[in-house]
Symmetry: C2
Subunit: 212 residues, 2 copies
DNA sequence: CCGCGATGTATCGGACCGATACATCGCACG
DNA sequence: CGTGCGATGTATCGGTCCGATACATCGCGG
């Protein structure tokens, strides 16, 4: 999961670890807490060993260029390689059941702008399926086993059920939008959006079309 | 976390591993997927080593009928000990910041029926605080960094923000109920509940008052 | 009588977290 | 002028938990 996110982020710009974590937090703040360095740095080394990213010292390696108003100390800047981009595309294409759990889905969704429409649809529908199953499980418990559980546990289930129903509806909307080729959260024309500025094109292609 | 849940469940009845997992799934289905056996069994052994649970063979031990080869594998039934109950109470009393993240909060909440009111209140307020912080972070990103992010990422943040606001409201209700001594999800008298049967007393004491 | 799904116990590699350590930089405050 | 302090930055370690896998028993229908 983290591997996927790093590969995705480094395609926007080369970064060092600390920066990577901040960007990760900004992008994934809705679905998970800040990533731990205890995970980040070992993962970076793993990706580097696999040849998917390369390490470049932050200090002016190319002689006099970039006087660097900051840092003499080794800030290690990572850059994604061609193999890394390929790996990222492969991870998207392979997106399977593990993509449907909470974290996996969120991370993949955050990089939908780099995902082709067919895969987006597949992931959204897989996620919906999974949430529907969870919802049915909760309904079962609330219906059949209600008297076995205490009031607090029941309240927890109710809250969870509500969240499930809400997410299913959200996914339905996204799926409908996806099928009609609109951008996410782009209401069908005629409904006032409320929020004025919505740039970002209808995200038509967005596929990353590697060109060697 | 799992340790806490096991100790809590075994106070209701002795169980073997498989059963424990099913009960765990029923009770925590709203907040997390089924627990893995790769976690459950090692944890059970750890708890046993610590003296908090004891192992008892499920089959009646008829003398020296020891399984020489592939004979009847005993279902291992675990029972909580007095030390285990004490440990559970201690875990509740110590409930700190780790209790405020998604999983930690959910698990503790599921055992609120075994938690004294003061601690319930403390946990609910800590959780609310944490969600409020997450909410502010999301508002920040949506406000300040919106143009840096693509439409999908923004949609994810909006959905997350909505979930945060919803959870804060839910927590407010629970806190208000808690302060007034009502049971959870017990609307103030006068509002029709819609759901007919709501047994479970107002959960007045519910404290487990260990008596040495 | 055979297969098959539910029940049941168990291990192993790997992902990820939280605490901790340490070093540099800019700057506010005395 | 220096001094401490918060942000930046890299790194390790122990521990929790997951997912895949393996294996054994039981009841049931075909």
């Amino acid at each position: 999961m983290l591997e996927f996110a790093i590969l995705g982020l480094l395609q926007e710009a080369p970064m060092h670890g600390y920066e990577l974590r901040k960007e990760l937090t900004a992008k994934l703040g809705a679905i998970r807490a800040a990533i731990s360095y205890g995970t980040l740095y070992p993962t970076l080394r793993r990706l580097q060993a696999a040849g998917w990213i390369t390490e470049a010292d932050g200090t002016p390696a190319t002689a006099e260029e970039v006087p660097a108003l900051t840092s003499r100390r080794g800030r290690v800047v990572y850059t994604i390689t061609a193999e890394g981009k390929e790996r990222f595309a492969q991870l998207i294409a392979q997106a399977g059941p593990e993509t449907y759990d909470d974290t996996g889905f969120g991370v993949h969704f955050a990089f939908f702008a780099r995902t082709d429409q067919a895969t987006r649809l597949r992931i959204l529908e897989g996620r919906r399926r999974k949430i529907e199953e969870r919802r049915e499980g909760l309904r079962d418990v609330l219906g059949r086993a209600a008297e076995r559980l205490d009031a607090y546990t029941l309240e927890l289930q109710r809250h969870g059920l509500d969240a499930c129903e809400r997410e299913v509806r959200w996914l339905e909307e996204l799926i409908a939008n996806e099928r009609s080729g609109r951008a996410p959260a782009d209401p069908r024309p005629g409904t006032a959006g409320g929020r004025g500025d919505n740039d970002s094109p209808p995200t038509p292609g967005t596929s990353r079309t590697e060109r060697p």
